[in-house]
Amino acid sequence: MNDFSTAFGTAFSLMINLDSALVEIVGLSLHVSLTAVLFAALIGLPVGAAMALFRFPGRSIISVILSALMGLPPVVVGLFVYLLLSRAGPFGVLGLLFSPTAMIIAQTLLVTPIIAALTRQVIEDLWNEYEDQLRSLGAGPARALPTLLWDGRFSLITTILAGFGRASGEVGAVMIVGGNIDHVTRVMTTSIALEVSKGDLALALGLGIILIFLSIGVSGTAFLVRRMAEQRHG
């Protein structure tokens, strides 16, 4: 019990004093996850919207695969990227394994299906509502795609936040492809895993608390965005 209170005390002092190790880890975490979410959004939004708007052969198969990928365990994605980037793998020559870039790639793969699948749902609902009117104005699916992405902007922000939640919280993929190397690829989740196994609870707890706040921040932002959308657009 005493251990815990000491650990909490140390954790808070680390956070309040902006301990350099802690700041570095949090900074890298945010850098990796935000970059991954940016790429995932750039891919997932148009792909999801296209899935909603166009009828093409194999559409339902892709749809099933996307849903399946949504629930894919991060370690599996990590393993997959590891194989691609390892020395013997097809992209081994790039020497990316155990770098932040490898972690970004893994998290992008992890988050893209989520953003694409949720976007598809949002755009499909909007298209049901708008289709007659947009066709009447002379806009087919191709012209409607950017229109619907813009009109769905509030729901899509929530979608992107959900993607960020998954990226910042996962440990399996970044552990495998990043290797949890101090000052290079160590992020919040991997260092929590490491510190706990070492028995050093203070840093783990500090990072854990920051992750909780981050999570609350994400869902709070999602809530505010939704309320703002309701107020503005009914």
Partner: protein, 273 residues
């Protein structure tokens, strides 16, 4: 302030020949044959499920007929699909507003038509003025009241300077004041030389707004006549019952039973310009 006019050759008249529309194994529109001409106002009436909305959607090109043909006979129809689309506009029963401001809703529609930015601004200004929405210009469209949204839908349609304007029960959900405003706008749009084709289940509105009445029942066009003639002396027994406000399956009129409308018998329709 009239800043925009319609240019180019007309696509009217519109002609339907033996149009059938099937969905889910049911024939919802049956053997529909009729035509529409420039600058007339046609009101389509009939009980619920008669196929009024389907009929409008078919004419407007949102649905494809299962058999039969729908043709634009005017010279402009030679200019292709896009031209034909942009010569028409439709206002739906429940207005569909983008999640943007009032101005942006109209601007978007105009941009689809390929109109330059400055012209779009002038046109938007002018239609908002004429529909009494200028003070709401920067409001989000979806927080407007039902009546205001329908006026905005009309403003957007007006901005397109359509040659033909389709309206699907445009006042179905509105109170009398809003209904009056909408009818005035429709009349004003008609005044600029636009052909009006609308559905209604309000016989008073049909009398006020129509030059011609089309009476639909269970997917068939049973009568197509000038408004005065239709209300004074409907030929079809079901039309008689409908005009008298009777329940159709209950008490038919004395007229000929179920004689579907054939355009040949009613050619005077097109002469009364």
């Amino acid at each position: 302030m009239i800043t925009h006019k319609r240019h180019g050759p007309e696509i009217l008249p519109l002609e339907l020949i033996d149009v059938d529309y099937k969905a889910g194994g049911q024939r919802l529109i049956k053997d529909m044959t009729c035509s529409f001409n420039t600058s007339r106002r046609s009101v389509i009436i009939g009980p619920n499920g008669a196929g009024k909305s389907l009929f409008l959607r078919l004419c407007h090109g949102l649905l494809k007929p299962s058999s039969g043909s729908i043709n634009w006979l005017g010279e402009g129809a030679q200019q292709g699909r896009d031209y034909i689309t942009h010569r028409q506009a439709m206002v739906f029963q429940r207005p569909v507003m983008l999640r943007r401001s009032v101005v942006a809703n109209i601007d978007y529609a105009l941009s689809l038509k390929g109109i330059s930015k400055q012209t779009r601004k002038d046109i938007t200004e002018s239609v908002l003025q004429r529909t009494g929405l200028r003070r709401k210009a920067d409001h989000p469209a979806r927080v407007l009241s039902g009546g205001e949204q329908q006026r905005l839908a009309l403003a957007r349609a007006w901005a397109m300077t359509p040659e033909v304007l389709f309206l699907d029960e445009p006042t179905a959900n509105l109170d009398p004041a809003a209904t009056h405003a909408v009818e005035e706008i429709i009349t004003a749009i008609h005044g600029t030389g636009t052909c009006i084709i609308m559905t209604s289940h309000d016989l008073g509105q049909a009398k006020r707004m129509a030059d011609d009445i089309l009476f639909l029942h269970r997917g068939r066009l049973l009568e197509h006549a000038p408004v005065a003639e239709f209300f004074k002396n409907p030929q079809n027994d079901l039309a008689q019952a409908f005009v008298q406000g009777e329940l159709l399956w209950w008490n038919r009129g004395q007229g000929s039973r179920n004689r579907p409308h054939k355009p040949k018998q009613n050619q005077h329709n097109n002469k009364q310009e």
